[in-house]
C-alpha cells in the first residue's frame, strides 16, 4: 500500500517546470481537490494534478469548462477540502463571476492564471502580463482579493503554499498570477522537509450557534464550518447577515458585510504584502517590477551598476493588495520610476497613483509573440531618463 503521507511533500532537489512546481506546492500545502479545464500554458498544472492527487488521496475532476471548474472548487472548499483550479486568460475571464461569489461567501480557494497573450484567444502559447487589472477588478462590485506573482519555478512552489495559507487565514480567493515564461520554464526547485513547511488551516466554529459570516471585528475572520458537520448552513452570494440570512434591501447589512470583507484584506495588508527590495536608499532611478520581467530587471541593475548607476528596485511578490508604502518610499528617493511590463500599461497606473507628485512614472511596454523585455532595453530606458534629468 502507498503511504500517502510520504508522497505529500517530495523533499529534495528537482528540475521542475513552473507549472509542475505550482502543482507540487499545492499538494504540499494540503490541496486535495482540483477541478479544471486544460488550457495552454496552464495545462501542465492540470495534467500534473490529475496524476498526483490520487496518490495522496485527493480528487481530480476535469470539468466541462472553466465556469464549472471554479464552481466545483468553491463547493469542495465548503466540503472541507483545500481546493484549486488553474487556467489562462480566456478561462480566467469565464471564472470571474464565481470569483466574486467566493469573495462574497468568503470561500478559501486558489486560482492560478498563467498569463498568455490576449485579449480573447490571442496568442495561446506566448507569454504576456496583461491580466494585472483583471486579477484585481475582474469580478464586479466592491471586493478585495490577494494576488501573488512568482518569478521562478522555485517561487511557483513557495508562493502556491503561501496562497493556500493566505486563503485559509483570510477566507478569500487567492490568485497566483504567473505567466507563460515562468509556467513553462524549467529550473531547479528545492523542496524542504515537511516539518519546515508552515501550513495554516481554516478555523472551525466552536459551536453550532456561532455566526460564520460575521460577528467578528473588522480585521478578524469568522470561523468556517464544513457542509455535513451538522451546522445549519446558508451560503449565498446575495447580501447576508452574520448567520447567512439573505438581506437584499437592508443598507446597513450590506455596508457591514462588504466593508468587512474589504477591510479584512485592506487592514491586514501589511501582513500580506511581500516585496523584494534592492538598493532604494541611494538610488539614482527606481524600477517597480513583477513576474518574469523582474528577471530582466536584475540583469539591468547589474549592467547599470557597471556604468555607475544605482537602480532602486521594488519587486512585487504580492501585486494586490498593492504595496503602497514601499513604492511611495521609492518615489520619495528618486525622480523617475520605470515600470516594465508585458502589456500596454497596467501596473504603471497604480505606481503613478502612489508616487503622486514625488516622481515621474513611466511604463516600459512590450507585447506580442511572448517576447520578454530584455535587460538591455531596460538599461537604455534607464539611461534615457537619467540624461533627461541632467538636461
Amino acid at each position: 500500500m502507498i503511504n500517502k503521507q510520504d508522497k505529500q511533500v517530495l523533499s529534495g532537489t528537482h528540475f521542475w517546470q513552473g507549472d509542475i512546481a505550482c502543482a507540487e506546492g499545492a499538494i504540499a500545502a494540503g490541496c486535495r481537490f482540483f477541478a479544471g479545464y486544460p488550457i495552454t500554458p496552464a495545462s501542465e498544472i492540470t495534467e500534473h494534478m490529475a496524476k498526483r492527487l490520487p496518490e495522496v488521496g485527493g480528487i481530480y475532476v476535469q470539468m466541462e469548462d472553466e465556469i464549472a471548474s471554479i464552481s466545483a472548487v468553491i463547493g469542495a472548499s465548503w466540503g472541507g477540502l483545500k481546493a484549486m483550479t488553474a487556467t489562462s486568460g480566456p478561462g480566467f475571464s469565464l471564472m470571474q463571476e464565481n470569483i466574486g461569489y467566493a469573495c462574497m461567501t468568503e470561500t478559501p480557494c486558489v486560482i492560478v492564471d498563467i498569463q498568455r497573450v490576449g485579449p480573447s484567444t490571442g496568442q495561446a502559447t506566448k507569454a504576456a502580463q496583461g491580466d494585472v487589472m483583471q486579477a484585481r477588478w475582474g469580478t464586479h462590485g466592491d471586493h478585495e482579493v490577494i494576488v501573488l506573482s512568482p518569478n521562478s519555478p522555485q517561487e511557483m512552489f513557495d508562493l502556491t503554499i503561501r496562497a493556500f495559507n493566505l486563503s485559509e487565514l483570510y477566507r478569500v480567493p487567492v490568485i497566483i498570477l504567473a505567466d507563460e515564461i515562468i509556467g513553462h520554464m524549467w529550473e531547479k526547485v528545492h523542496v524542504p522537509p515537511p516539518e519546515k513547511i508552515e501550513i495554516y488551516n481554516r478555523k472551525k466554529p466552536s459551536s453550532f450557534s456561532e455566526p460564520v459570516f460575521g460577528g467578528v471585528g473588522e480585521t478578524e475572520i469568522p470561523p468556517m464550518p464544513r457542509i455535513g458537520d451538522g451546522y445549519n448552513l446558508l451560503i449565498t452570494g446575495s447580501t447576508h447577515d452574520k448567520y447567512g440570512y439573505r438581506k437584499t434591501v437592508d443598507p446597513e447589512v450590506h455596508r457591514k458585510l462588504v466593508t468587512r470583507i474589504v477591510n479584512k484584506i485592506r487592514k491586514n495588508a501589511e501582513k500580506i504584502i511581500d516585496v523584494e527590495i534592492q538598493n532604494i536608499e541611494n538610488a539614482d532611478i527606481g524600477i517597480v517590477s513583477f513576474g518574469c520581467t523582474s528577471r530582466s530587471v536584475y540583469d539591468a541593475i547589474e549592467l547599470a551598476g557597471r556604468e555607475g548607476i544605482t537602480v532602486g528596485h521594488v519587486r512585487l511578490r504580492t501585486i494586490w493588495p498593492f504595496p503602497e508604502k514601499i513604492v511611495r518610499k521609492l518615489a520619495e528617493k528618486v525622480n523617475f520610476i520605470l515600470v516594465p511590463e508585458m502589456n500596454l500599461g497596467q501596473l504603471v497606473y497604480e505606481v503613478e497613483r502612489v508616487a503622486g507628485c514625488e516622481a515621474h512614472v513611466k511604463a516600459i511596454s512590450k507585447i506580442g509573440g511572448g517576447e520578454m523585455i530584455t535587460p538591455e532595453e531596460i538599461l537604455s530606458e534607464i539611461k534615457r531618463f537619467l540624461r533627461r534629468r541632467a538636461v
Binding site: H184, M185, W186, E187, K188, P375
Partner: protein, 188 residues
C-alpha cells in the same frame, strides 16, 4: 564554466522540447549547474516551428532567454535560417544533414552534420529518436554534458517502453561522432 547558451530548433513533433529537457536536466541535476530551459512552440500540435532554449552557468541565471548562442542545433532549414543570426561567429552549428542542406560559410564556425534520421531509422529502427541521436553527438562535440549524465536524464524522464531505444540513440550518436572525427583526423 562561463555562461553557455544553446538553441535547439526544429518542427513541432520532432521532440525538440524533449531534447532540450533532457540536456537541461543532465546539466542541472547530474552536473550540478545552474540551468534555465524555456521553450517556444506554435498553437498547433505539429508542423509549426518549435524551439528549445537552454542556458547553463555556474552562477544564478536571471534573464532566461538566449540572446547570442554558443550552440545551435538545427533540425530544419527554416529553423537554421531564422536562428543563425543568434549564433556567435565562433559558435557551434550542429545540423540534421538530410533536412538542413544550405550551410552558412563562416570562417570561424565549427560545424557538424549528423545523419540523425538515417541512424534513427536504419540502425535503431525508430525515426522518433533522431532528436536524441543529434543531441548526443552535439553534447560530446561541444563537451557540454557527459554521456553518462545524458543517459541518467533519459532514464528519469523517458517512459519505460521507449527508454532502451533512447539510450541506444545516445550510443549511436556518439559512435557517429567518433567515426566522423576520425575521418577528419581530429581527436575524439
Amino acid at each position: 564554466m562561463t555562461r553557455i547558451e544553446i538553441i535547439i530548433v526544429g518542427i513541432g513533433g520532432m521532440g525538440v522540447v524533449l531534447a532540450g529537457r533532457i540536456l537541461a536536466r543532465a546539466a542541472a541535476i547530474y552536473e550540478n549547474k545552474e540551468v534555465v530551459q524555456t521553450q517556444s512552440y506554435g498553437a498547433e500540435a505539429r508542423g509549426t516551428a518549435a524551439k528549445s532554449e537552454i542556458i547553463m552557468n555556474d552562477k544564478k541565471i536571471n534573464y532566461p532567454k538566449v540572446r547570442k548562442c554558443d550552440i545551435l542545433i538545427a533540425m530544419s532549414q527554416d529553423g537554421l535560417k531564422r536562428y543563425l543570426p543568434y549564433l556567435k561567429d565562433d559558435g557551434n552549428l550542429i545540423f540534421e544533414q538530410s533536412l538542413v542542406k544550405d550551410i552558412p560559410k563562416r570562417k570561424k564556425l565549427k560545424t557538424l552534420g549528423v545523419p540523425a534520421i538515417e541512424i534513427a531509422e536504419k540502425v535503431i529502427g525508430n525515426r522518433m529518436v533522431a532528436n536524441i541521436v543529434i543531441i548526443a553527438a552535439a553534447a560530446r562535440f561541444t563537451k557540454i554534458v557527459s554521456e553518462n549524465s545524458l543517459k541518467r536524464a533519459i532514464t528519469d524522464i523517458v517512459p519505460e517502453s521507449m527508454r532502451n531505444i533512447n539510450l541506444k540513440a545516445v550510443d549511436e550518436g556518439i559512435k557517429f561522432l567518433k567515426s566522423r572525427l576520425r575521418q577528419a583526423n581530429l581527436p575524439f
